[in-house]
Amino acid sequence: MLSNLRQLFRCRGLIQILVARELKARYRGSVLGFFWSFVNPLLLLLVYSFVFTVIIQRGEIVDLEPYAVFLFCGLLPWTWFSASLSEGANALLVGGNLIKKVMFPAEILPVVAVVSNMIHFIFGLPILFGFLWFYAIPLRLTELVWFPVVMAVQFILTLGLVMVLAALTVHFRDIKDLLANLLTLWFFATPFIYPMSVVPPRGKAFMDLNPFSHLAISYQEILFYDGPFGHWKWLLVLAVAGAVLFLLGYWLFDRLRDSFADEV
């Protein structure tokens, strides 16, 4: 397993070129082309803020102005997370031709799914920081240094989950459909369209078990809320959990590796 992990590192050139291919191919033939990477999150933000400010009145929740920025802090990473999961789960099936016909390290495919969605996330960041600037929300450098750390934790956590999902989806195609619904549930069970403060005490324990809650809260504390970053303990726990998950996921993937070419 360790030698395989090392090989994965050696394949970074291949990962790089496949991610580039993915990004290039995605918008090929469209008028706006690469701009969609910026326009997409912007439109997404408009839709959600319209729904949650105009259609659904939020009542007496304080501390959430401007709501669009609060929402965006959680929504952008969520898009990275959920798209990685649904693409990554399918990655081996979609790339079946490569696994079946070419000698090809299969773990590259889920990695590419996570990385290319991370690039989209990064492309969305200027929009986010543009909003922060527009609403004159103060940013502190001492908090901002945590931002890449949160991203790294999200990356390893997502990758671990995707490894498990990708390997299992080859054998149980049901996961694909199950996952789509599970992600919808997950979306509403994570505090980024509403703040953690409105969650009733009974739900709080459940929220704490949701790993993405801590990511969302971390992003919010760093970017949206004023004051020092107080969620770092949870973040470190999550980092350890994410690393363990990744190793477990990779171990499972490695165990099932030989079956991929036969089952895809």
Partner: protein, 466 residues
């Protein structure tokens, strides 16, 4: 040290097809078959205990029918799948031409795809840059290399895939039926490249249905049959054994067809629109099918020529005389596959319950596109019938069957001299003619070529004329 070594390799695939065969979930639960069926109870051995050794620098051919495990063998050598048991040993860098352009993304340009494909096959970016021009030139795609791959024709796609794979500069090249899909020029180019490979002492593993290629090109060959190594060694010998087996299987297949034909029910009149009862003295309104065999001259009438696919096969007649069995025989007993120039005997067992004195026997041969190659009967050949009673045998012996390669069908009949059928077997018997020489037409006259001394050919082909 051999380049490729397979030691008692077995590859078993599991099938999960059962899962969808539950009648209802309820019945599955009631009978308890749910759990049983969820287990992968069907397995299928693509390769069974195959051992072979490919020495370094050899060109090794793999032949066999569809589904015999050839591609599985390649995948094992390429490392794409792992053997269920046994050991696959490969020494050197492998490039597999299994699916050309497998990693191409249709939306991006040929240029970018070359890089991606090359890196996938194990080249570095720099190596690809160095070889890029060579690759594009080989693929003959200089003009369109910057267009998205989806705009390529399938031939262009293929050429580009081949060009990349061959330029990986492997020690071992695995080729799976690549030549079958390209055009003539491309195939020749591939062959040149393979020859160059051989010269440079690299190892080639070639899976193909092109048997002549194996004979010409390979140093050794293996014949896989149902996942097992039937025989291996000298390519010519392996190919000949394989061909003999294919012929035998064809023969059995045709024999089974004939057995079915022998059971064809007898009708009183020919089938189809011309089914008015062929009463005695109906010579003026002879059914079309009857006319063709008993009197080939009748084809001059305004009747359209018989098309084998229009003319229905079948059997009809009054039954006063019956053809009870028809056997085709070659030089070595009953056969359905013959070689051009071989002898063929058509043996008919007949039976007339009551004495008849007006009768004629006829035989005709049709090619698969419905052309009557030959038709005759005893009446045409001016044999006057006298009497026939009881069981007997009629033999139609052809000394040399000088037909070109193809599938042929046979009519046999016994009828009155005016055409009224006693027992008419229409296109019920099939035989195949094989020949190494792929000449055109229907009939191969016995012939020799003669030349003056200044007309020279390269070393005469030592293959015998069948």
């Amino acid at each position: 040290m051999p380049a490729i070594e397979l030691d008692h390799v077995t590859k078993v695939y599991r099938r999960h097809g059962r899962r969808r065969q539950f009648a209802t979930l309820k019945s599955a639960l009631l009978t308890g078959s749910l759990v049983k069926h969820l287990r992968p109870d069907e397995s299928f051995s693509a390769l069974r205990d195959v051992s072979l050794t490919v020495p370094k620098g050899a060109c090794y051919g793999v032949i066999g029918r569809n589904g015999s495990g050839k591609s599985t063998l390649l995948k094992l050598v390429a490392g794409i799948t792992k053997p269920t048991s046994g050991v696959v040993g490969v020494t050197g860098r492998v490039s597999a031409l299994i699916e050309l352009g497998a990693g191409f993304h249709p939306e991006i340009s040929g240029r970018e795809n070359v890089f991606i494909n090359g890196i996938m096959l194990g080249l570095s970016r720099r190596e690809i840059s160095d070889r890029f021009d060579e690759i594009v030139e080989f693929a003959e795609l200089e003009d369109v290399i910057d267009a998205p791959v989806k705009t390529y024709s399938s031939g262009m796609y293929l050429r580009l895939g081949f060009a990349v794979a061959i330029n990986v500069n492997p020690d071992i090249l695995l080729v799976d039926e690549v030549l079958a899909v390209g055009d003539e020029g491309f195939s020749l180019k591939c062959l040149d490249k393979f020859a160059e490979f051989k010269r440079r002492g690299k190892t080639l593993l070639l899976v193909t249905h092109g048997l002549s290629l194996v004979e010409r090109f390979c140093d050794e060959a293996v014949w896989l049959e149902a996942g097992q190594n039937r025989t291996s060694g000298d390519p010519t010998r392996v190919v000949q054994m394989y061909l003999a087996d294919v012929e035998q299987a064809e023969d059995q297949h045709l024999a089974a067809e004939d057995a079915k034909a022998q059971r064809t029910p007898v009708t009183q009149a020919p089938p189809g629109p011309m089914s008015e009862p062929a009463a005695e003295g109906a010579a003026s309104a002879e059914p079309e099918e009857t006319a063709d065999v008993s009197e080939p001259e009748a084809a001059d009438d305004d009747e359209p020529p018989v098309d084998m696919f229009v003319a229905k096969e079948g059997r009809w007649g009054s039954g006063a005389v019956r053809i009870e069995q028809v056997t085709l025989e070659g030089s070595r007993g009953p056969a359905h596959v013959f070689h051009t120039g071989e002898a063929m005997t058509i043996r008919m067992r007949i039976n007339a319950v009551h004495r008849v004195d007006d009768f004629a026997f006829g035989v005709s041969i049709f090619s698969s596109d419905g052309v009557c190659c030959y038709g005759t009967n005893t009446n045409i050949e001016e044999m006057e019938s006298e009497s026939l009673e009881g069981e007997g045998e009629v033999v139609f012996a052809i000394e040399r069957l000088d037909l070109v390669e193809g599938t042929y069908k046979l009519d046999v009949a016994v009828h009155k001299r005016d055409g009224f059928s006693y027992d008419y077997h229409r296109l019920l018997y099939t035989f195949r003619v094989k020949s190494r020489i792929k000449d055109a037409g229907i009939y191969r006259p016995r012939h020799v070529w003669r030349f003056t001394d200044n007309v020279r050919f390269k070393k005469p082909d030592d293959r015998s004329d069948d």
